[in-house]
């Protein structure tokens, strides 16, 4: 039986939610469906670039958060 794959299958394959036999079948047949292959490339490309989107905040928010929490807990102990 020939199985037809959709973009949803490509996404599930990327997230590891496609059954292993379907995943192998999809990977092997992707090059035969140019539209699906383009979509898979775009999804893979996006996943690869995700670490570049992350940036580090300054130390200021952390200091403010901890100062607030300490104050709140001290007040809670008093009351």
């Amino acid at each position: 039986m020939i199985k037809t794959f959709t973009p949803n299958d490509v996404l599930k394959n990327q997230s590891g939610e496609l059954p292993p036999e379907d995943s192998a079948h999809l990977n092997a047949s992707l090059s035969e469906y140019s539209e699906l292959e383009d979509f898979a490339d775009a999804a893979d490309d996006l996943q690869t670039k995700i670490p570049d989107l992350l940036s580090e905040p300054s130390e200021k928010p952390l200091k403010n958060i901890m100062a607030f929490i300490q104050k709140e807990l001290e007040e809670k102990q008093k009351s």
């Binding site: 599930k12 989107l53 928010p61 958060i65 607030f68």
Partner: protein
Amino acid sequence: MNTLKASTDLDLIESFLSGNQNAFETIVRRHQKKIYSTAMLVVRDKYVAEDILQDTFLKFFKVLNEGRYQHLDKLLPFLLRISHNLAVDYIRRTSNAPIITTANGKNIFDFLNIGDEIAFDVIDKNFETERLKWAIAKLPEKQREMLLLRYFADMPFKEIAELINVNQNTCLGRMRYAIKNLKKYLVPKVKKYDQNLYPK
């Protein structure tokens, strides 16, 4: 502190609830980069994103303190959703800022169509990454949330569906449109010119 670093989020939460403030600091240090970056993708302002990071953890503290935290091992997705919602609320609140219009009432930046390109030229340090951030900021709210939960929190669609209480096909649909839209936004615009001015 090293033992804390190796602990799971759940262990850290329990440790904090039994009085160890360092455990909360470890949680913040562990997740702050993704929470801050989530806010940055929406508000695109370092100072506002830091305020949102702060507010996200203070909300989490409040929920913990009141004994209302129920997400157990899903802390990062829980924090990402708070951060994203706060960022979207900020954009909604500030969208009433005055718009400069042309004589016929059109937004001058729509008319000139150069606002984003100028911003890119100034930034230009890492053009491709900045352009991707800009494109993600342009995505509809639900598509962007899906992208963040899938890639920042590394969640499978089945778990995302349970977390946000929609069915899995809705999640897959939102992600599919997010990828298609990003592709569309990132295609370079072809500048048209007046054929009469520069005939072949």
